[in-house]
């Protein structure tokens, strides 16, 4: 876990150590040290909340530069359906796909089309025996990582079927080889156009436990501006899009669930809501549900940090785009293929446990309680930790200096000052 490569990076020279990101981090992964933020790699889930919160633009999502596509002879663009919601007055997805060809790709493969296969597989999977319900969607990598780190008892609820992006990559590669048998594997570059850094880390870390099928992850906002330059609508695009409205719907929270054609589902978006729902599942308090769709970003992928448009506006645009589409373009038949399964290897260590030895943990806990009782409990963040409790934990577990609490320090200094005054009166 410690060698996990993250896709959220910090520009130290821009960071003022202002604590804006500190309290927004859902896993308390950030501390302010020596005047700037430090991200704890073991706790970070690449949700991008700190990028949103940073007023100094010091945090950035890391993707591949566009030029990386030139390392491949045959470049396939794989747009997430969220891309279609970014444009004004787009009435035909083909304009967008044609645009991708115009900016230098040799082929396009829609992730939404593969999503329709995944929806079909999910419907089959839910009917299988011995499936632990509710089944939790594996589509949002941030949610999967959050569960692995914080809800070990729910790991088995994660659907062991690969996300649409991955299946699209398999299909796209197969199609490339069919069209051009002369191409070698390394000649083909599968380039995913991503709405978020979470998907980027998913790819660079080979999260399936095997080599990913995606080669390049491009930031949606970068591709958007390149597309604007070529999407003038001057000529009729080639008919390229094959997706139906079910596949396109995956871009918005609730879309994946509604494609299951069942009403025993729950769809939640935004990390705060996601965490609440996971707590409820963990407590067995939810009504009987077959499926739970969780998206870390507000409104789903349209709320991703690498998008251009406001999520609600993007959502409205996608609704009008979907109006004239068939229900589904893909019609998967037969059972779920073997290569659509993955094993959630879960080599994540639960982040919260103090020590492997309970006696030791209890000793540490009691020290933390003692330290915490001396703190002001105002969670101001000035010490560099998000809350007084987190600071107490840092003091006991990581040797943080208790004098970093400036509230207590102020009282201490005032007291010293009084003592000095008294002394001078006495003399």
């Amino acid at each position: 876990m410690s060698n996990f490569i993250h896709s959220v990076s910090l520009n130290v020279s821009k960071c003022k150590g202002c604590t804006s990101c500190l309290r927004r981090c859902p896993t308390e992964a950030i501390r302010i040290k020596d005047g700037h933020a430090v991200i704890d790699s073991e706790r970070c889930i690449d949700c991008g909340e700190c990028i949103r919160a940073c007023p100094h633009k010091a945090k950035k999502a890391v993707c591949n530069p566009f030029e990386k596509i030139n390392e491949f002879k045959y470049k396939v663009a794989m747009p997430a359906p969220t891309l279609y919601g970014q444009f004004n007055n787009l009435d035909d997805i083909d304009f967008c796909l044609q645009g991708l060809l115009d900016i230098g790709f040799d082929d396009v493969y829609e992730v939404s089309y593969a999503a329709e296969f995944i929806s079909g597989y999910t419907r089959l999977f839910l009917k299988k025996e011995n499936v632990k319900k509710p089944v939790i969607s594996s589509a949002c990598p941030v949610v999967v990582r959050l569960i692995n780190l914080r809800y070990p008892s729910l790991c088995d609820n994660i659907m062991p079927i690969i996300p649409p992006m991955e299946l699209a990559a398999i299909f796209a590669r197969q199609r490339a080889k069919k069209k051009h048998p002369e191409l070698k594997d390394e000649d083909i570059g599968i380039c995913f156009i991503s709405p978020c850094p979470g998907k980027s880390s998913y790819v660079v870390n080979d999260e399936l436990g095997k080599k990913e099928n995606v080669d390049v992850v491009l930031a949606m906002n970068d591709i958007y501006f390149r597309l604007l330059a070529v999407m003038k609508g001057e000529r009729t695009p080639r008919p390229l899009s094959k997706s139906g409205l079910l596949g396109i719907g995956w871009a918005v929270s609730g879309g994946e669930s509604s494609a299951l054609l069942s009403d025993k589902y729950l769809a939640a978006d935004g990390l705060e809501n996601v965490i609440q729902v996971l707590e409820e599942i963990d407590n067995g308090k939810l009504p009987e549900l077959d499926f739970v769709e969780l998206n870390a970003c507000n409104s789903g992928c349209v709320g991703g940090i690498l998008t251009v448009e406001n999520p609600y506006i993007a959502k409205a645009k996608m609704q009008s785009l979907r109006k004239y589409l068939p229900v589904s373009g893909a019609h998967p038949d037969g059972d779920i293929p073997d290569d659509a399964y993955f094993e959630n290897t879960n080599n994540f260590k639960p982040i919260q446990q103090f020590s492997d030895n309970m006696q030791e943990s209890m000793k540490l806990m009691s020290e933390i309680q003692t330290v915490c009782s001396t703190l002001p409990e105002i969670d101001c963040g000035s010490c560099g930790a998000p809350t007084c409790l987190a600071f107490a934990e840092d003091v006991v577990l990581k040797g943080a200096d208790i004098n970093n609490c400036i509230i207590n320090m102020k009282d201490y200094l005032l007291q010293k000052l009084e003592e000095k005054k008294d002394e001078s009166y006495d003399s």
Binding site: P152, S153, E279, D282, N283, G284, K285, P350, Q352, Q353, F354, S355, D356, N357, M358, Q359, S361, M362, K363, M365, S366, Q369
Partner: protein
């Protein structure tokens, strides 16, 4: 043997929606201590039921969780009306919750039976007009 660790919570009686905050917090603490997830779940469910009971019937109260090396003890105390017939209250489906509470989806008469079934030991100490103290124990070994 090291001393028990105590976690003290005040359950606010005014607000239904906040019932359960203590049981969420205790989960985090028990995870930090490395308690088995299955046990954490039992503690949390039993405590949640107890919290809801205190909000419905007693305008809130306090919860003290004592973690020992071999057991977890939960003491829920309130100054509510007391339980008139403990035997009846322990019956699945029996409830004295008012209608508006039921309309919110609570008051199904499963609170006390659930608390008993998720714990290894439960004692009810109640006095009409004075209050109720429920002590539950979940063994760690």
């Amino acid at each position: 043997m090291s001393k028990a660790i105590n976690f003290h919570y005040v359950v606010d009686g005014d607000d239904f929606t906040s019932a359960g905050e203590a049981s969420v917090d205790i989960k985090r603490k028990l995870r930090q201590l490395g308690v088995d997830p299955a046990i954490i779940r039992r503690v949390s469910i039993a405590m949640y039921e107890g919290e809801v009971n205190m909000v419905i019937h007693a305008e809130g109260g306090t919860v003290d969780v004592n973690v020992y090396e071999d057991k977890i003890e939960m003491i829920l105390s309130d100054e509510g009306p007391g339980i008139a017939n403990v035997e009846l209250a322990m019956k699945a489906g029996f409830s004295t919750a008012p209608d508006y509470v039921r309309s919110l989806g609570f008051g199904a008469g499963m609170g006390l039976p659930n608390m008993k079934s998720y714990t290894d030991d439960m004692k009810i100490d109640t006095k009409i007009g004075v209050g109720t103290t429920i002590t539950m124990v979940v063994n760690l070994k």
